[in-house]
Structure formats: C-alpha cells, structure tokens
Amino acid sequence: MSNILAQLLNALVIGSFYALVALGYSIVYGIIRLINFAHGDFYMIGSFIGYSLLMLFGKTFIGNGVFGIGLAMLLAMALTGGVGAAVERLAYRPLRGSPKIILLITALGMSLFLENATMVFKPWGASFRTYPVGLSRAGFDLAGVHVGYAPLSIFFLALGLMIGLNAFIEKSTVGKAMRATAFDREAAQLMGIGTDKMISMGFFLGSIMAGAGGFLAGIYYGQVSFLMGFIVGLKAFTASVMGGIGNLPGAMVGGMLLGLLEVFGTSTVGGQWKDVFAFGALILILVFKPTGLLGEKIARRM
C-alpha cells in the first residue's frame, strides 16, 4: 500500500512532464496541423538553458536558493519560448502550404539539428550533465510514505502552468484569436487577425511549457543529456493523442494517464520494457480510439 502511494506521486510528477510537453504538440497541431517532431527537443533545450543559468547564478549573488531557481525557471521558459518561435519563423514558415510530408521531414531535420547542436556546443556537450540543484529530502510522512515537498511542488507548479495556459487560451483576446486561427485560418485573416503572429504565438506558448517541463525534469532527475527530448517527445505525443490531439485538457489528462500507466506498468513487467509500454499504448489507442479518450466531440478544436 505504502509502495503504491510512493509510486503514485512519482507517476504524477512524470505525468506532469509529459503533459507539459503534450500541450505544445496539441497547440501546434491545432493551429497548423503539424506534428512538430522538434517539440521534444524544446524540452531538452529548456533543461539545458536552466542548467546554464543555475550554474551562472551559483557563482553570483543571486545564488541557487528558491529565488535563484524561480528566476532561472522563468528565464529558461522565456528563452525556450523564443527558440520555439524562431524555429517556426526560420524553418516552418517558408514552407507554409507545402505538402505535409515536406513539413514533417523539415521538422525531423530540425529535431536532429537541435539535438546535435546541443551535443557539439561545448558547455552542454555529449555526456550527461548533473543539475546544479537537487531535490531536497524535506517532506512529511503520509500513511508511512515519505512525501517530499519538492516533488509535490513540482507537480503543483506544473499543474498551475497548465491551468494558466488553458485559461489564457480560453479567456484572453489573444487566446481567442489563436482559436479563431485554428478553426479557420482564412476567415480569421479576413477578420483582421494576424494569423502568422498567432502561429508564432502558438509555438511560443508551447515551447514555454516544454521549457518549464525540461527545467523541472532537470531538477527532478538530477541530470540532463542532449538526447533526453527524443523519447519524452514521443511519449508526450502519445499523451496528446490519448487525450485527443488538439484538445488542451485532453493533453493534460493524457500526460497524467501515461505517467500512471508507465510507472505501474514497469513495476509489474520490469524497467527495460518502460518505453515499449508507451508506444504499445500509442498503437492500441490509434487502433481502438483514434480520436482520443476525450474525443473530438467533447473537445473543441484548438
């Protein structure tokens, strides 16, 4: 029983990383119908930017305390958002209106490029890097299980970000314009919406979430590597399909569900099959419920 509780907490944290990345897939897919292969790499980039910032802060008066971590996280999110918007501008915008396969291949090339650029960049490099800050052991006991404050706050922070993003898209004017662009780009353009800006905005917001996920994952796992985005990207895509791609609450539910499935699945069949679980789930979902669990009927397109 106590073991299950500990696993549950772990699953929720991992699930929230998947969910944060899945949101970006869904936003971008919703607006331009592109599966952005490079999206998992935004998570990795966010993680590395956070790593560099924390190293830098550790040497200055800002320090690696709560303030330093908070500032590093905000900056990492903003910079990753910038990377995402730049990727869209440089690689995807020139190809608007091209056949889908051309866009997919470009996205794949971008993913390779980002991963290997990180690898050859000396301060980041090809080997695992240890995150400058780790999880504190502080926490409380619940039913015989040690519940750390750190994992708990990672989970609630991620949840807050997701709810914030959803509220922004549902309530704000910009969010409304983005939804209009997703719904019918031409009509939105005729209504005076700068659709190119909205597409950039979609990439920006999606990458911010991925950057946040990467930063938190760096702290949670304690180490980062240039290939970390590949498998997470795939799993986050699985999560967004599970929830119904293009559907933001669906992406969150999908991410959490995948986290649970993976943690409890691997505890029964063994860790080496961990990734098989996620991909197996993806194939099964596509066979039996390709519209995702929340379906497209309930979900509005976004």
């Binding site: 599966i35 056949p99 090339g109 971008m110 080496q272 194939i283």
Partner: protein
C-alpha cells in the same frame, strides 16, 4: 539536355542514358577487381546496402508519400530472421533470406493495416515508435541474444562455393541492387505506380477515380518492408553477426535522408542519395561529431530550397508549384 543538344544529334541523344547506365554498372563491377583496398571495398559494400534500402524506402516515401520513420525495424526483422533460423534451426541461408523478407512483410502489413487508415501524419510517429519497440524487444529477448546479439553466422554457399570474403558479398549485393532497381523502376511506371502517384498528389481525387486508397497504401508500405527484410538478411551474413545496435532510429533517418536528398520518387536520384549518405561522412571524418548536425541541416535546407531533391523524378508535381 541543352548542352547535350549542342554536341549530339537528336538520334544519338536517346543512347546517352543507356550508355551512362552501362558505364556506371561496368564501373561498379570492375571496382573491387581493380582496387585492392579493404577500406574502399567496405565503403562500396555500404553504398550497395544503403542504396538498396533507400530504393525500398523510396516506394513508401517517394512513390506513395507515406512517411515511414521506422524502416530500420524491418531491416532488423530480416537480419534477425536469418540469424535465428540459420544458427538455431540450421536453415539454409537461401531459405531464410526470403523468409526474412516475408516476415518483414507480414509485420509491415499488421502495422500498416492499423495505421494507414488514420491521418497520414500519425504514420510517421507510429512507425517511429514501432521501430523503437522492435529494437528494445531485440535487446531484451533471449532468442535474439539480448544486447550482444547473435554472432558467428556462417556465410551462405552457392553450389558448394562458400561466400566469406567482402568481395563475394559485394557481388551478391550488386546483383540484388540491379534486380531491385529494375523492379522498383518498373513498379514506379506501372499502373500501380501511377495509382500511388495519384494518391500522393491528391487523395480525394484518387478516391474519386476509383483507387482503393487503403489497399494501395498498404501495398506500397508492404512492398517497402520486403526490401528492408531482404537487405537485412544479406547484411546479417555479411557482418556474420546481428546486433541491436545496428537498427537504431538514426539508421532509419540515414536511409530517409538518402531518399530525400536524391529526390523523392526518383530511382536514379535515390541511388545517388544512397551513395552520398555514405560518402559524405567519409569525407567529413575529421568532424565526425558534426555528422548528424549536417544531416539535420541538409534535410531542412533541401525541404526549403529544393524539395524535389538533387535528381528530381520526371513527373514530380511538387516542384512545379
């Protein structure tokens, strides 16, 4: 063509292409006899393997426009089939090889049937995930030898003559490549190939013309897997070993790059692309770490500036927009 017109009479021009082909084939045939370096031999063999794989993937990506990112999985299926059948069950290689191709096709039709009904872009990710599943499974099962794989495979024999030297496999692969080129080029210009082209350019129009879209997609996908399985089988006996390391995602990407670089749907282009993806990294040895960075950039730049590739297919509509 314009420069050719200046030098040759129109009646002579039609001989240029066959002459070039014969010359190329003669060069490929003579190369191992004239060059004694094992390094050149190895690079030559690699080119043959990759061009054959690229030709197979070209059916899927180039002809039918389906993005398959797990192609190396079928290559693995062919290699492991031969590894397991010849070593554990003492099958002859010549029986195991077609079985490898057949098993790849069987698996391909299972996966294809599940995903090809869906949005085409899902295929890319599912094939990617499936490729990883195959690799992880091979890495963890006992029958596949786990992370160390299967080794000590015997070379196949033809009428009592045993193939062991790289040069033997070179000629075996050259035969496979020539047959594959003829088959795939003819497939492309056949009724089936035209149906694929139509499907690729406009799915709705294709359906309206009475083309069974799921059927033809499945046909393209499964045809591609056959070549991967076949090449994997030869690859296994050439290396005398099968290791899960050989079937990574990057393998699939390299084959895809060959197809994209040469020209989607263009048979001569894809052969050129297959040669280039092997030769370029050899020239870039000094900056080996940058290899995949260059690959990624190449993919993007090609898609933005020259989506039809270096040697475009004659009827590619994409470039004319």
């Amino acid at each position: 063509m314009k420069t050719l017109n200046r030098w040759l009479k129109p009646s002579q021009i039609k001989f240029v292409k066959p002459a070039a082909l014969v010359l190329l084939l003669a060069m490929a045939f003579v190369m191992p006899l004239s060059v004694q370096s094992p390094y050149v031999m190895d690079v030559g063999l690699q080119i043959l393997f990759y061009t054959t794989l690229a030709l197979g993937l070209n059916v899927v990506v180039g002809y039918a426009g389906l993005l398959d990112l797990g192609y190396a999985a079928y290559f693995a299926v062919g290699a492991y089939t031969v590894g397991i059948l010849t070593q554990k069950f003492h099958f002859s290689f010549w029986v195991a090889m077609p079985l490898g191709g057949a098993l790849a096709m069987l698996l391909g039709s299972l996966i294809g049937f599940t995903v090809l009904r869906l949005r085409s872009d899902y295929l890319a990710l599912v094939t990617l995930g499936f490729g990883e599943i195959i690799r992880i499974t091979a890495n963890n099962l006992d029958v596949t030898g786990g992370p160390s794989g299967i080794f000590g495979l015997q070379g196949p024999s033809i009428l009592g003559f045993r193939l062991v030297q790289p040069i033997h496999f070179y000629y075996l692969m050259l035969v496979v490549l020539v047959l594959s080129t003829i088959a795939i080029a003819r497939l492309g210009s056949s009724r089936i190939g035209r149906a694929w082209a139509c499907l690729r350019e406009d799915e709705d129009a294709a359906e309206a013309m009475g083309i069974n879209t799921l059927g033809y997609r499945l046909l393209a996908y499964v045809t591609g897997t056959f070549w991967a399985g076949l090449t994997g089988a030869v690859f296994a006996v050439k290396m005398t070993a099968v290791s899960p390391m050989s079937f990574s995602f990057m393998q699939s990407i390299t084959i895809l790059l060959a197809v994209v670089m040469g020209g989607l749907g263009s048979v001569p282009g894809v052969i050129l692309g297959g040669a280039l993806v092997i030769l370029l990294p050899e020239f870039l040895r000094a900056v080996a770490d940058w290899r995949y960075l260059v690959f990624g950039l190449a993919l993007m730049l090609l898609m933005v500036f020259r989506p039809t590739g270096l040697w475009p297919a004659p009827h590619s509509l994409k470039g004319e927009e």
